[in-house]
Subunit: 236 residues, 2 copies
């Protein structure tokens, strides 16, 4: 955790109250003490610093100053075939940590039906992973996640509007073109499941304006393809 | 697993024998049957295809053809502060999957001493992770791993020779320069532990020719920094 991400209800009169997971982390991992300074930020707001005023095993009270803008969001929408639950959590943390603010989790032929039953898809579980990603990266702006359980209606009825005004790329191991470096335009990036989108799905994506791109001769897992693609598209 | 990586002792007379982990994977995940074709490769050799001739729950016999060169290795040496054991395994898989062939695992002030006691540092455990990475990526060339438990003698006595003929970069969140894109020269890339190299260590690296570079305003975990850095340096 490189930043303590606070919700508005934790703050009053320039003073923040810490409990639960964040308290445990400050005590056990950072071994916080009265007088220590802690980096923090308000969800969807400014970042700054907190000075620990009081501390016990129930809660920590901090005097806070919020005066730093969070990093600029990436002009990138990620459309991701739902990964298996364990990988979903890591991948959401990664996507949040890298500055993506809009994520569509979609179905695909190679997504196992059972993945859609995962408790990790509950709103509070998704939010938890996004918060962990923001706290890792030092950012405050919460990404939005949209779940789309049906591939065809999503692509036919909704995706056209999502990609409008952006360059739309689908990562595909057997694409002819390499993924571009340092994109100067907003991007909509589609990433398939392990095993890739099936040809029908790639065709449907191409119909709404996607161009298929590869990442080189080696096949990467989703958890590595995500940072590899984003870092190449937006080398800030 | 996108490629079955075979050791020489599994092969005789254009015929390969599969057992153990690879057998289990073929049967349980890929649901292999007689007559199926499987991509495979010989450790440090060619890649090609195998045709399943016989199959039972003890072993699979394949007729093999090896006629494809593995992907070109990256001209990149990674010098990595030893991550915690769980992350080490994932990170080694990633490094192997991305085409790195030389890895130094080194000590740093923020590496916990206990990490060096991990059973995952045994040669056969390291090799297992590298094989998983190569099988994911479709590559056959085994990376070499070197363990260096003492930072100062490694940097002072050995690192100068390692970086000779390459551009040496150390990833550091507060560096002035951004990590370059599309390097045209061989690279030696140093990556610190969670929390980063301490200033003394960065100074020592700079003394032997390293330049410190950042990955943008967000702080990434080692497991994401590795694919992000490599993909940016070598966008093949």
């Amino acid at each position: 955790m490189n930043l303590l991400l606070l919700s508005p209800d934790q703050i009053s009169d320039n003073c923040a109250l810490i409990h639960g997971r964040q308290l445990e982390h400050l005590l056990a991992v950072q071994r916080a003490e009265v007088g220590d300074k802690v980096r923090l930020g308000l969800v969807n707001g400014l970042m700054g610093e907190g000075l620990i005023r009081e501390l016990d095993d129930q809660r920590i009270t901090l005097d806070i100053t919020l005066d730093i803008q969070p990093p600029t969001p990436l002009p990138l929408t990620v459309v991701l075939a739902l990964p298996r639950p364990k990988m979903l959590r890591r991948t959401l943390q990664t996507i949040a940590a890298m500055g993506v603010k809009k994520i569509y989790l979609i179905n695909s032929s190679r997504v196992e039906k059972s993945f859609w039953q995962s408790p990790f898809l509950k709103p509070e579980a998704l939010e938890e992973q996004l918060i962990l990603g923001l706290e890792q990266a030092r950012d405050t702006v919460m990404p939005e996640i949209f779940l789309r359980k049906l591939f065809k209606p999503f692509v036919e009825d909704e995706l056209g509007e999502i990609v409008a005004g952006s360059k739309a790329l689908v990562a595909h191991p057997i694409a002819a073109a390499a993924c571009p470096v340092d994109s100067q335009s907003p991007i909509t990036l589609a990433i398939g499941p392990e095993g890739g989108f099936i040809p029908y799905e790639v065709e449907k994506l191409i119909e709404v304006g996607f161009e298929s791109v590869h990442l080189g001769p080696r096949i990467l897992r989703v958890e590595n393809a995500v940072p590899a693609l984003i870092s190449r598209l937006f080398p800030s």
